[in-house]
């Protein structure tokens, strides 16, 4: 007993001297009002406020205004952030952060269940709050993620998570917010072993696949009408919310025709709220999307154009082109979990190719919030919303000046340390470099 106590003390001592291997603790709830003063406040709601004041208490924003905005200073922790910039915490939709640790190591991957139709599978359950990746993503200003399973046709249900918490129950912001459907491809890719080339051809099996899908939605509709179903079908149970609007249907589709077909399908099946994810070729269906009031979450725009003939910068300017057409556009980093920390720079690149910086910021804040249905709580810096925000030394969307100095999730002060910073520190000490 004594011996182990000694070891424990020793470990603590060593821990202080060097570093812990584990992630730091989850943040403690906001205990007193906090005021940030002197910064440029990018509210993503109204105009940028120079030299502004933002105050929040019990996790909620109580004041936002220009210098001199009055607030009760007693008991308030005022942090002088003069010359710095305040942004809403960035939101990363359709993401696998927390489900995947090391892509190539199967044991650390919890993103895809067996089977083509899995509406009942819940990403929330596997969301690992102890992932070593989460702090590195948070450190660049991304504070909210939509943890999303991947799969064949219906991959499962996503949930919206704060990037802080002891466990998934703590971290969840919105549980089981929607079902994810990968639309049946209009084209399919084939590899020809004779010519060593791949071709994109029409998918001949499409109609059959859509018929099967139609049957599923019809069955789900019928099931939803039964008051006390016996037996209970967990798949159809999971789809209920699609028809009363409590859940969104997120459809991954890239090609113009797929998008039109998928949206029309969903509407004809009585789905109340549809979101398109991906949308690489959504420009072809932009008017349709606007007229049908369907938003698009454009996926990782740091990609190559799909066609040789496309404008070289087409992916970079796609959000702007869609916005110009009147489509509600969000922005996501799909697929590369660790790369989510570059979400601000996706938006920055969009701004470099025609969109205003303010609108580009909205892509990854208020627009994503609106599209995910969480704009009541987060996505902009407005009184009454949650205090989920970031303070950066400079422009958060530009790696040349971005440096996150403070982050708050629901008013909780986030420890911005992460494994990579610890390793940096450890080896800087080894070499005596600064």
């Amino acid at each position: 007993m004594k011996k182990s106590a000694l070891l424990y003390t020793l470990a603590l001592f060593l821990g202080m001297k060097t570093t812990f291997a584990q992630n730091q603790a989850a943040a403690t709830p906001q205990s007193k009002p906090i005021a940030l003063t002197g910064a440029t406040i990018h509210t993503a709601a109204g105009p940028v406020i120079e030299n502004g004041v933002i105050v929040f208490d019990k996790g909620v924003i109580t004041k936002v205004g220009p210098a001199g905005t009055a607030y009760d200073k007693t008991g308030t922790e005022t942090i002088d952030v003069t010359g710095k910039h305040v942004f809403p915490g960035l939101i990363a939709p359709a993401n696998q952060l927390g489900l995947v640790e090391i892509e190539a190591v199967r044991a650390t991957v919890d993103q895809q269940e067996v089977g083509a139709i899995n509406p009942h599978v819940r990403a929330l359950i596997a969301y690992n709050t102890d992932s070593e990746l989460i702090p590195t993503v948070r450190g660049n200003g991304v504070l909210i993620t939509q943890v999303t399973p991947v799969g064949e046709i219906i991959s499962g249900m996503s949930s919206i998570m704060n990037l802080d918490g002891w466990n998934w129950e703590d971290a969840v912001l919105k549980k089981d917010d929607g079902v994810h459907l990968n639309w049946v491809g209009y084209f399919k890719r084939e590899f020809n072993f004779e010519t060593f080339s791949s071709t994109t051809k029409k998918n001949d099996k499409k109609e059959e696949q859509i018929r099967e899908l139609a049957q599923l939605f019809d069955d789900a509709t019928a099931y939803a009408q039964i008051k006390n179903p016996n037996p209970i079908n967990v798949k159809l149970e999971a789809m209920k919310g699609l028809f009363d609007g409590t859940k969104k249907l997120y459809i991954s589709a890239d090609y113009g025709k797929e998008i039109i077909e998928a949206v029309q399908f969903a509407k004809s099946k009585g789905v109340k709220s549809v979101v398109i994810i991906g949308g690489e070729e959504s420009l072809l269906a932009a008017d349709f999307l606007r007229d049908n009031n369907v938003p698009v979450i454009v996926s990782g725009t740091h990609r190559l154009p799909n066609s040789i003939d496309d404008d070289t910068d087409l992916p970079y300017k796609l959000p702007q082109l869609l916005a110009q057409k009147g489509v509600t556009v969000g922005l996501a980093y799909i697929g590369m979990h660790w790369r989510t920390r570059n979400l601000p720079f996706l938006a920055g690149t969009v701004a470099g190719h025609g969109m205003s910086k303010d609108d580009a910021l909205k892509l990854v804040t208020i627009n994503n919030a609106k599209i995910l249905g969480i704009d009541k709580y987060v996505g902009s810096l407005e009184v009454g919303k949650q205090a989920t925000l970031v303070v950066s030394q400079g422009d958060l969307l530009d790696m040349r000046s971005a440096k996150v100095e403070h982050a708050f999730i629901q008013g909780k002060k986030i420890d911005l340390d992460d494994k990579q910073k610890r390793l940096y520190k450890k080896y800087s000490e080894k070499y005596g470099t600064k």
């Binding site: 084209f187 994109t200 051809k201 025709k257 066609s307 697929g335 530009d398 790696m399 040349r400 390793l423």
Partner: protein, 1024 residues
């Protein structure tokens, strides 16, 4: 029944005649030699493409031509055939064929199966299953009557044929397209030696890349030479012996596209061989280079089918280059002819032989001179293959291979009547068919006053019974010689069934008997009334205008240009100049570019004749140098063996890759195109400038030091390749060390062996050591002539290679990726290694678990020459952003950050004397940015290489508009083509080969390539 029997007897008798001529064979019955002398008189004889004799005579005796000309005395016993109004041509020669060769069986190469390291071919042959010089087409030729008939109908009389399988394919044979004994058909053996870079049916792993194929071919040349010089053979190698024996005949190389021509020609030049190259039909797309190569070509007429572009969304998948090729491919032969490039035409790659003629006429319509076309199908293939004493023209002593045609061979209405091959008559269309066409007075079943009109073509007459002025009936007619079977209803309403007649033509009238619907016998009498008047053919003299086609652009896609960029004298005024020199970042500074070099840097410069570029508010920097790139390559990994130092990426540079242009738009001007990381010692790098529009050879940086890719860790030990990849050594980092040690120990011994040989006094009596391209490359490393870029991740393996290098006395020039470089930075510094890393990549595999984005900054601070690279076609166009991340992670100064993608990689590549900073005398490789290049908002406005503007944001706008306009023009043309009845194909997109390192998606391009090439498996990411 009787008729069938008769035909049967006919065949037997004909067969007997044939056999009688093969003199070594025993005879069943009596000798049956026939006179076999024929004279074809009154013909228009096209004896070769340039010689036409009107009213001339051709005399043949047996299988040989006796005489061609006028006033020829015919020997007694000559059978005379009058060809008045008809023409004689030499039968065509198929230049590139596998006629009569066994059908190739492609054994399914199992994906994720066990590796096959050695050949499965049994016997004393080459170690590699794709090197088959011993294959002798003559020895395995067996006639194929169906294929021969098809070729004869298309006008061919002889074919040069070989087994189209493997990289070294053995020798071809010249065969006559006759049925009967193979001994007669075979005309000449050992006609040409054949090559390709496709391993064909070989199931062996090596080579599984294009550059591996090139390396294997090179090594085969060297091995054969060594074998020849060997005094004491340690092995008897039939393949190498055959290879040596086949070097004196014409050497023919099959490639699939225009770049393949340049590649094959380059290989040929290395070994003093001028290949005749069988191309892919897109030669016009690199016309200048193909012409400069000075090669002879064999070209196919494989014109693309019209893509169906009716649906505007679907049309989006068809690229402008495919559209342009659809438009221009038919002009390829004409363009080559105009450029003076000698070529033969082959039927290969064309779907059917009838398509061949349609396409040949189309080529003529698109401007190919008929004489050139005829030569390309007769004398040229004969000369290429040195068989012009046998076939290809009509001269005494040559084989009696000729065509009898109704007209000019190239005319659409022309009919090939007969194709005589080796003096044997093959009737394609009966030229002696009776002309029944006329107008007749007809009486049927006692009904008179009717008319029978026979019109149409001689061989395809059309029959019509005119019952009255308003009632016309078309009877169903079957014709057998002069016998006719007719069935008809004279009154469609009343007649309950057909009246059936069996009739004959007596030279003037048509008479017959039969029954009507009721079974009553009826008579059919058609009495000649009036001769048939052929509609006068439309004036054919007005030649159709040659269709207008688009322009050739370099390279052949929407972002190509008609003229390649040229160096200009440019004066950039008043810019913020990032010099990367002691001066640092200079504001309001001018830079003069002249003759491809930076001429002057300073204030208020002026230069006569210079084009002034206003740089106010803009930033001028060096072009970005990407130390680790896989764009512009046709293949990346030769992953079949653990050491493949012999492969060269410069053999597979793809100058047509649109990513070159896209990266210019991101400010990249130079790249090291690296081999992948599938094995411990990979291939030699291609170090290029992104000279968009130029051919691969021009892109290469001249006199750059050679580099080679090494790799360590998970990829080379196949950690993520699935459970079946457990056979290739090494499977652990322990094994990697041993592979490295062993490779260099062998290289040292090799060096020693050569040194001893070279200084030996009695050299002439010694067998030289065997040249080994793999050991050559390793020896170059030991001798500081080649430098290592090593893919590496974790500290233990980095440390290992440093120790291996130190113990054997070589240097590791660069560690690439080097994500744990920060852990051993002190050791790297002591060794003098550089580090080329990612800005922030991690967590994609186990060995990058401890990667940190501070790596570049930390290595820099320790004093290592550090760079940031892309390893990714997309990220490369944002390397400025990646460099900027080192300001955020680790706090480098902006100048330091910028050097990570410019000066530092130039130093790593030993090119900092020419590249990497803005200083008078260095190459004018610069980029003008709209703002600070490290900003996420920065965009290049001009990207300049050696003073030539390769990307210009204003020009780019024009190109985009032009792409849209050209697409629209071609889509309209395709729609018209479809409307006029051309067959169409569903639009499909051929994906440009991309070697992005996406570790998530399904089958990556590289994986696909590996599956296609062999049994070896690859990880699902190409390099990272």
């Amino acid at each position: 029944m009787k008729k069938i029997l008769y035909t049967f007897i006919n065949i037997i008798m004909f067969g007997t005649v044939l056999r009688a001529q093969t003199t070594t064979f025993p005879r069943n019955g009596v000798q049956d030699e026939r006179p076999n002398t024929y004279a074809f008189v009154n013909a228009t004889i096209v004896s070769d493409a340039n010689t036409v004799l009107e009213g001339a005579t051709l005399v043949i005796k047996g299988s040989v031509i006796e005489a061609v000309g006028k006033n020829i005395t015919l020997p007694a016993g000559t059978q005379v055939i009058d060809l008045k109004g008809k023409r004689i041509y030499p039968s065509l020669v198929e230049a590139y064929s596998s006629y009569g060769m066994p059908e190739l069986k492609r054994e399914g190469r199992s994906f994720r199966g066990d590796p096959q390291f050695e050949s499965k071919k049994q016997g004393a042959y080459n170690w590699n299953q794709a090197v088959l010089p011993e294959v002798n087409a003559a020895a395995i030729y067996a006639s194929n009557p169906t294929a021969a008939d098809e070729l004869r109908k298309a006008g061919f009389g002889a074919a040069i044929t070989h087994v189209q399988d493997g990289i070294v394919r053995g020798t071809s044979a010249l065969v006559a397209l006759i049925d009967g004994r193979d001994q007669e058909a075979l005309l000449k053996t050992n006609v040409s030696a054949n090559y390709s870079l496709s391993k064909g049916s070989s199931t062996q792993d090596y080579p599984n890349s294009l550059m591996g194929s090139v390396a294997l071919l090179r090594q085969t040349y060297l091995d054969a030479d060594w074998y020849k010089k060997s005094k004491n053979h340690t092995e008897y190698n039939i393949s190498l012996e055959s290879f040596n024996n086949s070097q004196s005949v014409p050497q023919v190389f099959e490639v699939s596209d225009k770049l393949g021509i340049l590649r094959a020609n380059k290989i040929g030049k290395e070994f003093g061989v001028n290949y005749i190259i069988k191309g892919g039909g897109d030669e016009y797309q690199r016309l200048d280079e193909v012409k400069a190569a000075g090669v002879s070509l064999i070209i196919p007429l494989n014109f693309p089918t019209t893509p169906d572009v009716e649906d505007p969304f679907d049309a989006g998948v068809v690229s402008l280059s495919d559209m342009k090729h659809w438009e221009m491919a038919p002009a390829n032969p004409a363009i080559l002819a105009k450029a003076g490039i000698p070529f033969a035409i082959t039927t290969s790659n064309v779907r059917s032989k009838s398509d061949f003629w349609a396409n040949l006429r189309k080529a003529v319509e698109y401007g190919l001179d008929e004489k050139v076309a005829l030569a390309a199908l007769t004398s040229v293939p004969a000369q290429f293959n040195k068989v012009d004493n046998l076939v290809g023209s009509l001269k005494p002593g040559m084989l009696a291979n000729f065509l009898i045609t109704s007209d000019n061979l190239f005319k659409e209405s022309n009919v090939i009547y007969e194709n005589w091959v080796k003096g044997k008559r093959y009737v394609v269309n009966n030229m002696n068919i009776t002309d029944m066409r006329a107008s007749y007075d007809l009486s049927v079943a006692g009904k008179s006053g009717l008319k029978l009109n026979v019109t149409g073509k001689v061989d395809k007459p059309e029959f019509q019974i005119q019952v009255s002025d308003s009632v016309k009936v078309s009877p169903k007619v079957t014709r057998t010689g002069d016998l006719l079977t007719l069935s008809f209803k004279l009154d469609a309403k009343k007649d309950k069934g057909d009246t059936r007649i069996s009739a004959y033509y007596d030279g003037k009238n048509i008479k017959g008997d039969g029954f009507d619907a009721a079974g009553t016998p009826v008579k059919f009498d058609a009495i000649f009334k009036e001769a048939f008047k052929e509609a006068v053919a439309k004036a054919d003299t007005t030649k159709k205008p040659v269709p207008t086609i688009g322009k050739i652009v370099y390279p052949f896609n929407g972002y190509g240009a008609e003229t390649k960029p040229k160096a200009e004298t440019l004066l950039i005024k008043n810019a913020t100049v990032w010099t990367n020199e002691k001066d640092g970042i200079l504001k309001n500074t001018d830079v003069l570019l002249k003759d491809g070099k930076i001429a002057q840097v300073g204030k208020n410069l002026s230069a006569t004749g210079a084009k002034v570029v206003d740089g106010t508010g803009k930033h001028l920097t060096n072009g970005i140098f990407d130390e680790h790139s896989h764009i512009a390559l046709l293949s990346v990994n030769e992953g079949s063996q653990s050491v493949t130092a012999e492969v060269r990426m410069e053999d597979v540079v793809n100058s047509e890759d649109v990513n070159i242009y896209r990266q210019l738009a991101g400010g990249v001007t130079s790249s090291q195109l690296l081999h992948g990381s599938a094995n411990c010692i990979g291939g030699q790098s291609a170090i290029v400038k992104l000279k968009w529009g130029e051919a691969p050879e021009v892109m290469k940086i001249q006199n750059a030091d050679g580099y080679i890719k090494f790799a360590l860790g998970e990829n080379v030990k196949q950690a993520n390749w699935g459970d079946r990849a457990r056979i290739r050594f090494p499977q652990t980092r322990m094994g990697v060390e041993q592979i490295m040690m062993d490779a260099f120990l062998r290289a040292k011994e090799y060096d020693k062996a050569w040194a001893e040989y070279n200084k030996a006094a009695n050299k002439a009596t010694l067998t030289p050591p065997r040249r080994d391209l793999e050991l050559d490359a390793l020896s170059e490393i030991l001798n500081k002539k080649r430098f290592i870029t090593c893919h590496s991740y974790v500290q233990s393996e980095i440390n290992m290679l440093l120790k291996v290098a130190d113990s054997l006395g070589f240097k590791v020039n660069t560690f690439t990726h080097i994500l744990e470089g920060y852990k051993v930075a002190d050791k790297m510094k002591a060794h003098g290694a550089s580090g080329s890393t990612f800005a922030d990549w991690w967590a994609y595999k186990m060995e990058v678990k401890e990667a940190i984005p501070f790596n570049a900054a930390l290595m820099t601070k320790v004093g290592i020459n550090t760079s940031i690279n892309s390893d990714d076609a997309e990220m490369a166009r944002r390397l400025n952003q990646e460099a900027a991340k080192t300001v955020m992670y680790g706090g480098l100064t902006e100048e330091e950050a910028w050097k990570l993608v410019t000066l530092n990689p130039a130093k790593m590549m030993h090119l900092d004397n020419r590249l990497g900073s803005i200083k008078a005398g260095k190459d004018a490789d610069v980029v003008l940015w709209n703002e600070n290049p490290l900003s996420v908002y920065a965009k290049p406005e001009k990207t300049i290489i050696e003073g030539a503007v390769y990307f210009d944001i204003e020009k780019d706008k024009e190109l985009r508009a032009n792409i849209a306009a050209e697409r629209n023009r071609l889509i309209q043309k395709m729609l018209n083509s479809k409307a006029s009845g051309a067959p169409t194909a569903r639009p499909e997109m051929r994906k440009p080969r991309l070697f992005v390192c996406n570790s998530l998606g399904g089958l990556t391009e590289e994986e696909g390539e590996t599956r296609a090439f062999g049994t070896l498996q690859l990880q699902d990411n190409c390099d990272k």
